[in-house]
């Protein structure tokens, strides 16, 4: 189906995924100015049922699931004992005894095993990835396009809320979430209906010149918005505070895995953290390149790329905190040459709210 739309495919986490259709730049700009459609069916889903579902989630995740209402979504960290990320995830509260976790494709088996092995509660785990395909409609025109396909009151749905309903004639869960820095919706549907829904959304958005978008644009969009990517900004060795995600840590709630390390970091501060930079010299930083401070190796680029909307070359890197102040000059080592860059405040891009 995607190949028919001119897609370039790449193997990813066992999936054959489109990197781009028309081109990353055109797709990226379409999402910033209009609307784009992403197939993100590779994402994993884990459902948790039972009276103590929320206790299980709150014992393993850094954010407070107990504060969610029915139909609300929360970004959180599934942490290990050292306070590092097993994964980052979205927690959806369907009902007080039913939650759906949306997790990263490459981590889904590990997440499931981690939750199962640490489940001391009356809560039942269900590895649900094979029951869900996921399509993301993203951009300022996403609301107009998606509203044509459903009776769910999308205009009345707030950011980070969701509802169940009919979508393009298919039973769906529609969430006002995304990974692009724009308004938009993520639609969870049965895999058998995915092709039908994909084509229905493209048809519904033809007036807005909706573009099918691949993983390439998904990455540049989330980077401009300075959203973390597992395996890049965050991993088992990185804590939420180091990743600049202190807002998803709720130390005041009952004990959770990793809390001791996080409480210490909160009190004493971290030694290193993720910061954003922009290239000042001529060159494009890339993932894994060395960061130099005063000519000395000081850290690594975690994610970097040209930013198609901003028209600059940007990146994220992990640096000792003493080098992290905005405005500081650093260098990125590109093919053996030190090229000037400067630390800037995050996010690189923030949408204007209407």
């Amino acid at each position: 189906m995607h190949r028919e739309a001119g897609a370039r495919m790449v193997g990813f986490g066992g999936w054959d995924m489109p990197v781009y259709y028309a081109g990353i730049v055109a797709e990226h700009k379409a999402v910033r100015s209009g609307v784009g459609l992403f197939d993100v069916s590779h994402m994993g889903e884990i459902e948790i049922r039972g009276p103590q579902s929320v206790d299980l989630i709150d014992s393993l995740c850094s954010n407070r699931a107990a504060s969610l209402l029915n139909g609300q979504v929360q970004y959180s960290g599934l942490l290990n004992r050292q306070g590092g990320f097993v994964d980052d995830l979205l927690v959806h509260r369907i009902s007080p005894d039913h939650y759906l976790l949306c997790v990263n494709a490459a981590n889904q088996e590990g997440d499931f095993a981690w939750i199962r092995d640490n489940n001391e509660f009356e809560a039942e785990l269900d590895f649900a990835s094979e029951r869900y395909a996921q399509l993301a409609i993203q951009g300022p025109s996403a609301l107009a396009v998606a509203s044509r396909l459903t009776d769910v009151d999308l205009a009345g749905m707030r950011y980070y809320w969701f509802a169940h309903g009919d979508f393009a004639g298919v039973p769906a869960m529609v969430a006002r979430t995304g990974y692009t820095g724009e308004d938009g919706f993520e639609v969870y549907i049965p895999p058998a209906a995915a092709e039908h829904a994909w084509l229905a959304i493209l048809r519904a958005g033809s007036g807005e010149s909706i573009r099918p978008c691949g993983l390439g644009a998904r990455n540049t969009l989330r980077l401009e918005a300075a959203m973390s990517l597992y395996g890049h900004e965050i991993d088992a060795e990185v804590t939420p505070y180091e990743a600049g995600l202190g807002w998803i840590v709720k130390l005041a709630k009952p004990a959770f895995l990793g809390r001791e390390v996080l409480a210490r970091q909160e009190a004493e501060g971290v030694d290193r953290r993720i910061v954003g930079f922009e290239m000042r010299g001529r060159g494009i930083a890339r993932d894994g390149y060395r960061v130099l401070v005063d000519g000395q190796a000081a850290g690594r680029v975690t994610s970097a790329s040209p930013a198609p909307h901003l028209g600059r070359n940007i990146g994220l890197c992990m640096l000792p905190v003493e080098f992290c102040s905005a405005g500081r000059s650093i260098d990125i080592e590109i093919r053996g040459r030190a090229v000037a860059a400067q630390i800037v405040r995050l996010p690189f891009y923030r949408r204007k709210r209407s």
Binding site: G23, I24, H28, G283, I284, S305, P306, R335
Partner: protein, 130 residues
């Protein structure tokens, strides 16, 4: 896409065209197609000595960096500096306006050893499984 018959081609997807005493070098249609939107080009200084199969620069798209290798040995006599402001020329016209450098020809036998247009088309077809 037609690959010009008078050019020769490398396994790394560069082309070379003989232009009198000099050679013009670029990357192929297939290479730019694989890269996607080219946004940055790094080229050597005029006067640089290139060794056949040695890396002499890079072409970057939003997603990827592709090192470029000298098809033959020689000295760089000119670089396409218009690519600094308009790297998309490599996508639009890879075998023409999107040329990278011109260079002297140290040994014409190195050119004869490269692939012809027909051989290169077969090589690309085999590489892409198409």
């Amino acid at each position: 896409m037609e690959y010009p018959a008078e050019y020769r081609y490398t396994r790394e997807h560069e082309w070379v065209k003989i232009d009198g005493e000099a050679a013009v070098v670029g990357i192929t249609h297939h290479a730019q197609d694989q890269l996607g939107d080219v946004v940055f080009v790094e080229l050597p200084e005029v006067g640089s000595k290139l060794q056949a199969e040695g890396q002499f620069g890079a072409v970057e798209s939003v997603k990827a960096v592709s090192d470029i290798y000298a098809p033959i040995s020689g000295d760089v006599t000119e670089v396409n500096s218009s690519l600094i402001d308009a790297p998309e020329k490599i996508n639009d016209d890879p075998h023409g306006e999107g040329w990278l450098v011109t260079m002297t020809i140290f040994d014409r036998n190195e050119i004869q050893a490269l692939m012809t247009a027909g051989q290169y088309a077969d090589y690309v077809a085999a590489e892409t499984g198409g």
